[in-house]
Symmetry: C2
Subunit: 161 residues, 2 copies
């Protein structure tokens, strides 16, 4: 791409709206909890999501070793919570990075303070870039309250382009 197209590509891709989620993963006695925003549904039946997962992350290593995933849906106002999962995961008792987590059917950690969560397993991926497009099937979910999702825009953060 020439410079003009490159700049246009960046500007266009930054128009895509994103919510914020904590991706919970597990491998043996290790758990991971990382904030992600590249998420879309890709099927109703079965319910599938595509998640862009950084290739050099613990989350991705966990998903490759053990396909279990959980996605905790953050609520407007939970910016600090979101930012705490940009750091490496540190577990102390039933907390990760200071936030209580739970484990349900898959063993992947769910952030207890989230408005809602879904969990399930990896069913496929397209692994062609710096992030893999991981496709997961949702097999369990819970909703704690009606909430507006926390967005990248609310956080004043850009991740895309």
């Amino acid at each position: 791409m020439d410079e003009r197209a490159e700049a246009a590509k960046k500007a266009a891709l930054l128009m895509i709206p994103y919510g914020l989620y904590v991706l919970g993963t597990v491998d043996g006695d290790q758990i991971g909890a990382a904030t992600v925003n590249w998420v879309t549904q890709t099927s109703f039946k079965p319910p599938l999501l595509a998640i862009g997962v950084k290739k050099d992350s613990h989350s991705y290593a966990h998903l490759k070793a053990n396909g279990a995933f959980a996605l905790s849906f953050l609520e407007s106002g939970q910016k600090d919570l979101a930012f705490s999962f940009f750091k490496p995961s540190k577990v102390e008792g039933d907390t990760v990075n200071g936030h209580r987590f739970e484990r349900h059917q898959t063993g992947a950690p769910v952030i207890a303070a989230a408005a809602a969560w879904v969990e399930g397993r990896t069913v496929g991926e397209v692994d062609l870039g710096d992030h893999a497009c991981v496709v997961v099937e949702v097999t369990n979910a819970a909703k704690h309250r009606d909430a507006r999702i926390l967005t990248l825009e609310e956080c004043g953060v850009k991740y895309g382009g």
Copy 2:
């Protein structure tokens, strides 16, 4: 999933924010232009997007026959334009469903009134549901103006769950 989990899954997935785009496709002398919302970036280098594409659609058939795609980014206020591409694609001269289109490097149609567009080719897919998760690489783009993207929320439409 039991009923409670099914309802929670639906509610959670409907929290995901979505923009609206016209997916342009081409196969021989046929072109397709269909409004989609299941879009996320999934890599910076190369720039990849995942798009949920209905399996029984002309768009999907075109993408399988000829991997070229274009994604026109709609702007706040362009609800009528978005809705006109829920209908089958009808080409008359240089218009499709009444809206002027252009073709650039890939041959896939771009809606001239869109705020920005990207185009490129299909590079992979995960085909496991009623929609396929099609991964595309962006190889060209243009931006016509700064704009807020048209969202599903602005249109009062839900597509997810």
